[in-house]
C-alpha cells in the first residue's frame, strides 16, 4: 500500500507525514520512519516520480558547488583567507585559489585585507564545515565601494527573475552595477548615492512582495515613476 499524503508544492512543517509505503524514497529535508516518510524541515514539498524532498523556506545559506557568493574576509592565516559567507561555517579561500601567483611568505593583506568584501565562487563543499571558494574567474574580485545588503537566501531566484529579467531591468533602468550572491547578499554600486538607495528600496520591496504575481511589471512601473 503506497500513498502520498500531501500534494506537491504544499507547505509542510517538521514531523509532518508525507507518504506511506516503501515505494517512495526520502531525499533532502525528509527522513524515513518505518513505513512513513516524514518531513524534517519547514519547506515546500517537491515530488519527482517516487523521490520526495522538501525545499526549505528558511534557514541559513547552504553552500552548493558553482554558486557565486559575496563574503567578507574575517581572518587571514598561512593558508589563505577565512571568509564569512553567511552560512554556518566560514569559507576558506586558499592562496592558490586566490590569484595567479603569490610568493611564499608574502603579506596576504596586500591582496585581501580584513573586512574586504569579495565576490567568489564555491568550488568544494566536502562536508558542511569545509567550504572552499575561489576568486579566479570572470567577475570574481574584491568589491570596492558600493553597498552590500542582505536578503533571505530562498528569495534570491525572485531577485534575479526569469532568465535574469528582474535584475537586468533594474540595472538598465538605474545604471547601477548589481551583483547578486546566492547566499542572499547583494552588492550595489551606482553612479550616485540616490541611485544606490533607490535600488536598495526596490530590492527590499521585492523581498517583501516576492509572492505577488506580475512583480516584474510592478517594479518596472515603480522604476519609471522614480526617474
Amino acid at each position: 500500500m503506497t500513498k502520498l499524503l500531501i500534494q506537491e508544492k504544499e507547505i509542510v512543517v517538521p514531523g509532518e507525514e508525507l507518504a506511506e509505503g516503501l515505494d517512495y524514497l526520502p531525499s533532502m529535508g525528509t527522513y524515513r520512519d518505518k513505513e512513513k516518510i516524514v518531513s524534517n524541515k519547514l519547506g515546500v514539498v517537491s515530488v519527482n516520480k517516487n523521490i520526495i524532498k522538501v525545499i526549505p523556506l528558511t534557514g541559513r545559506y547552504m553552500p552548493r558547488i558553482d554558486d557565486t557568493v559575496i563574503g567578507r574576509v574575517v581572518e587571514i592565516g598561512f593558508y589563505g583567507w577565512s571568509v564569512d559567507i553567511g552560512s554556518a561555517y566560514p569559507a576558506t579561500l586558499s592562496i592558490r585559489d586566490a590569484t595567479e601567483f603569490i610568493d611564499k611568505g608574502e603579506n596576504l593583506t596586500k591582496y585581501y585585507d580584513y573586512g574586504d568584501v569579495i565576490a567568489a565562487k564555491v568550488i568544494r563543499t566536502a562536508r558542511y564545515n569545509s567550504i572552499d571558494i575561489t576568486t579566479k574567474g570572470p567577475g570574481l574580485k574584491k568589491l570596492i565601494s558600493g553597498n552590500v545588503i542582505e536578503v533571505t537566501p530562498s528569495k534570491v531566484p525572485r531577485m534575479i527573475g526569469k532568465q535574469g529579467s528582474m535584475i537586468s531591468m533594474i540595472k538598465e533602468s538605474t545604471g547601477c552595477n548589481i551583483l547578486i550572491g546566492q547566499n542572499g547578499r547583494i552588492w550595489i554600486k551606482g553612479t550616485s548615492l540616490e541611485n544606490e538607495n533607490l535600488v536598495t528600496r526596490i530590492i527590499m520591496k521585492i523581498e517583501e512582495e516576492s509572492h505577488i504575481d506580475g512583480l516584474t511589471d510592478k517594479i518596472k512601473k515603480l522604476l519609471e515613476e522614480k526617474k
Binding site: 517538521p14 507525514e17 541559513r60 558542511y128 504575481d213
Partner: protein, 236 residues
C-alpha cells in the same frame, strides 16, 4: 485538603487557556516565535547554526544546542531581579533536554544553535510556553527537526486532575504542578517534571490529559508556521 470542584477561571478541567502562536517576530534572528497561553507570553529567538565559541565546547561529531531561559523584570507582579538565577539555569537545562531528542545537529559538527527564550508576561506555565515557542522558532530557523514539540502543564489541585494551571490554581495548598512536553507526531514525552505528591492513577490521568492538550497545541503550531509562508508559496 481543599475541595476544588469548580475552577477559579470558570474553565472546564480539561480546557486550556486561549492560545496564540506567531513566527517571525524578531527580524534579525534566524528564527523567532511568540507563544501565548492565557496571560503567559513567551518569545523565542534562534541563532545559528554558527561557529561555537569557546572552542573547547565544540564537538566534532555533532552540533550542540544551547538554550537560555530568562524572565523579563516586568513579567511578574513583583519586579524580578534581572539576569540569570538558579531557577532560570534549571529551566534552561530542562528546555534544552526536552528539545534535544527532536533536533538533528549531526550535520553541523563544531557548530552551535542558540535558543533564547524570554518570558515577557508570566502567569504560570512559563517553561511550557517557552518550550512551545522554542520549538516553533527552531522550525522557523530551518533547523532539521524530526518533529515539533509542544508542552503544557497539568496538575492536581484539590481532588481534581486538570490541565494548564494558572497562578491562582498553582498557589492553592497542596497543588501539584507537572509540566509535560510531548512531540507532535509520535506523542513521545520529552519532559516530565514533578514535585509534590500525586498517586499513580492521577499521574496516568494527568499524562493522558497533557497528551491531549499537546496535540491541540501542535495543531496551532503547525498552523502558525504554515500561515507565515502561505501567501509566498501560493503563486509561484
Amino acid at each position: 485538603m481543599t475541595s476544588y470542584d469548580k475552577r477559579f477561571s470558570g474553565r472546564k478541567f480539561d480546557e486550556m487557556r486561549e492560545i496564540e502562536a506567531k513566527v517571525g517576530i524578531i527580524k534579525r534572528a534566524d528564527g523567532s516565535a511568540l507563544f501565548r497561553i492565557g496571560d503567559t507570553i513567551a518569545i523565542a529567538a534562534v541563532y545559528g547554526p554558527r561557529e561555537l565559541h569557546p572552542r573547547f565546547m565544540q564537538n566534532p561529531e555533532t552540533g550542540i544546542l544551547r538554550c537560555n531561559y530568562d524572565m523579563t523584570t516586568f513579567s511578574v507582579p513583583e519586579r524580578k531581579r534581572p539576569g540569570p538565577n538558579r531557577r532560570g539555569v534549571e529551566i534552561s537545562l530542562v528546555t534544552e533536554k526536552s528539545l534535544l531528542p527532536v533536533v538533528e545537529l549531526k550535520q553541523f559538527p563544531n557548530a552551535v544553535v542558540d535558543v533564547f527564550i524570554e518570558i515577557i508576561q508570566a502567569n504560570s506555565g512559563t517553561r511550557c510556553a517557552g518550550i512551545s515557542a522554542a520549538a516553533l522558532a527552531l522550525a522557523h530557523a530551518g533547523i532539521p527537526m524530526k518533529d515539533l514539540v509542544a508542552a503544557v502543564s497539568v496538575g492536581k489541585v484539590g481532588e481534581k486532575v486538570l490541565i494548564d494551571l494558572d497562578k491562582e490554581e498553582e498557589d492553592v495548598e497542596d497543588a501539584t504542578d507537572i509540566p509535560i512536553a510531548v512531540t507532535g507526531r509520535k506523542q513521545d514525552i520529552t519532559l516530565l517534571q514533578l514535585d509534590g505528591n500525586v498517586t499513580k492513577k492521577d499521574l496516568v490521568e494527568a499524562i493522558k490529559l497533557a497528551k491531549h492538550g499537546c496535540k491541540k497545541i501542535n495543531e496551532i503550531q503547525q498552523k502558525a508556521l504554515k500561515d507565515a509562508y502561505k501567501s509566498e508559496v501560493k503563486n509561484e
